[in-house]
Amino acid sequence: MVISMIGQLGRNVMHGVAKIGDATMFGLASLRLLFSRPWQGKHFVMQMYAIGVGSLIIIVITGAFTGMVLALQGYHMLVKVGTESLLGPAVALSIIRELGPVLAALMFVGRAGSSITAEIGIMRVTEQMDALEMMAVNPQARVMLTRIIACALALPLLVGIFDVVGLYAGYLIGVEMLGVNGGVYMGETIDKIDMIDIETGLTKSIYFGLLIGIICTFMGHRATATTEGVAKATTQAVMLCSVMVLILDYIITSFYL
């Protein structure tokens, strides 16, 4: 009983490691096609539009409410120790370094990542991948690579928008509603935010974008070619991306302290 459980655990771990290896190889093989002809320029732009603009509304809403709740919560904590003048930097640092990239990435997974996996899975079920192959168009370059790159470019931009909206929403709550001095709020924020903070956020968002792109295309590509298989792959892709984003977030943060 115990032995078989340990055996099962071992098999699951081996299976997981093998899958990570597969996904990495798949990602690298796709990215390598970036330097091969034909150049997929037009298709990058089309994917950027589909993925990026499609996620805009949800990112703006999430950003606004994150900024608002941070200001509200932060004010009530800071005011107890009389340091509400630090509300600005508290909100700004949380958003720029952590919450912006992470929350935007999680929303992005739900909005864009899931649809990438499902779309690729369905393209496989309906033989569209084979059709591309037969029409002498490399599906890995046309379908996979364009989506991976689009994710890696769109997410940093979305995080930028998330940050701006979040900071402004925080300012509105902190200054206009709770009455912190506007000059102090802005002054402290500008004073305490360094280039390294913005760099951290940007680095995170690029890696998150790449990660989401690779995982979501990989899961779609490896989905069993049935309706059930696509459904399962989509769920797994969203779960895996969310967890990996949080793990990667910790790793990158530890490099940027």
Partner: protein
């Protein structure tokens, strides 16, 4: 046109194709028939170079598909068209864009020239005027005809058809069958059709290949196939449920399973 030499293909331990040797002639309609699981779709995928074979060679115009580079394979594919079982139209593009897809991808023709070609191909399949429809708005038969037009866009030397008549009503199936025959004669292309539709298959075929359990059991003109005295061939053509090809795939005795006899319960 296509020559297959001692071709084998396995999925895990299951042997899907067993030592196949075939010659597909230029300018003819070759029909590959067989029941479900006989290996005919696998054979078509190997012929199209979508799956590499476990062993053996497929020579397309003298070049071994398993040995050519990916780049060369794509060059060869520009001379090949394929009509898939479920049409496989790209559903983000409309009919015009689907038919024009390969022309947009692989040629530098002016849009007006492409438009002319697309109009001609759609006329050929009787769907001129449907350019702006999306694949989701088409019926199965229409989608298959659009897929046919798309396969013809580059004036291919060889066109592969995977179950061209399955899932279609008798009229649409007849239309598609006669389209295949007519186009092959008119444009002198080579057609390879995989089907389990015996009547349609025998009607359009110049050459018939009958597969059973991954082996070729009969080969020749439609007439000689019809008159074959191989009981397996006759069973398939007449569609009888029982004969040398058994209806039941069960491996154990029915009575043993009903009696729950130990040792007869299949574990998988």
């Amino acid at each position: 046109m296509i020559k297959i030499v001692s071709l084998n293909h396995e999925f895990g331990s299951v042997k899907a194709l067993d030592n196949i040797n075939l010659n597909i002639e230029k300018g003819k309609v070759t029909v590959i028939m067989g029941g479900s699981g006989s290996g005919k779709t696998t054979l078509l995928r190997l012929l199209a170079g979508l799956t590499p074979p476990t062993s053996g060679s497929i020579f397309f115009a003298g070049e071994d598909l398993a040995k050519v580079s990916r780049k060369r394979l794509y060059e060869l594919r520009m001379r090949v068209g394929m009509v898939f079982q479920y049409s496989a139209l790209l559903n983000s593009l409309n009919v015009y864009e689907n038919v024009a897809f390969t022309l947009h991808e692989h040629t530098d023709l002016d849009e007006s020239v492409i438009q002319t070609i697309v109009t001609m191909k759609l006329e050929q399949v009787g769907l001129r005027g449907f350019e702006d429809m999306m694949p989701s708005q088409l019926s199965g038969g229409m989608a298959k005809r659009v897929a046919f037009a798309r396969a013809l866009a580059m004036d291919p030397q060889v066109v592969f058809f995977d179950e061209p008549t399955s899932g279609l009503d008798p009229i649409s199936a007849g239309v598609v069958s006669s389209l295949i025959h007519e186009t092959t004669v008119k444009t002198r292309m080579t057609s390879v059709v995989v089907t389990h539709d015996v009547q349609a298959g025998l009607d359009i075929a110049d050459h018939v290949i009958l597969l059973w359990e991954g082996k070729v059991i009969a080969e020749g003109k439609s007439e000689s196939i019809k008159q074959s005295d191989d009981p397996r061939v006759q069973q398939f053509i007449e569609g009888r449920p029982n004969g040398p090809i058994p209806f039941s795939r069960s491996q154990t005795a029915y009575i043993d399973d009903l009696m729950h006899k130990p040792g007869c319960v299949r574990m998988s």
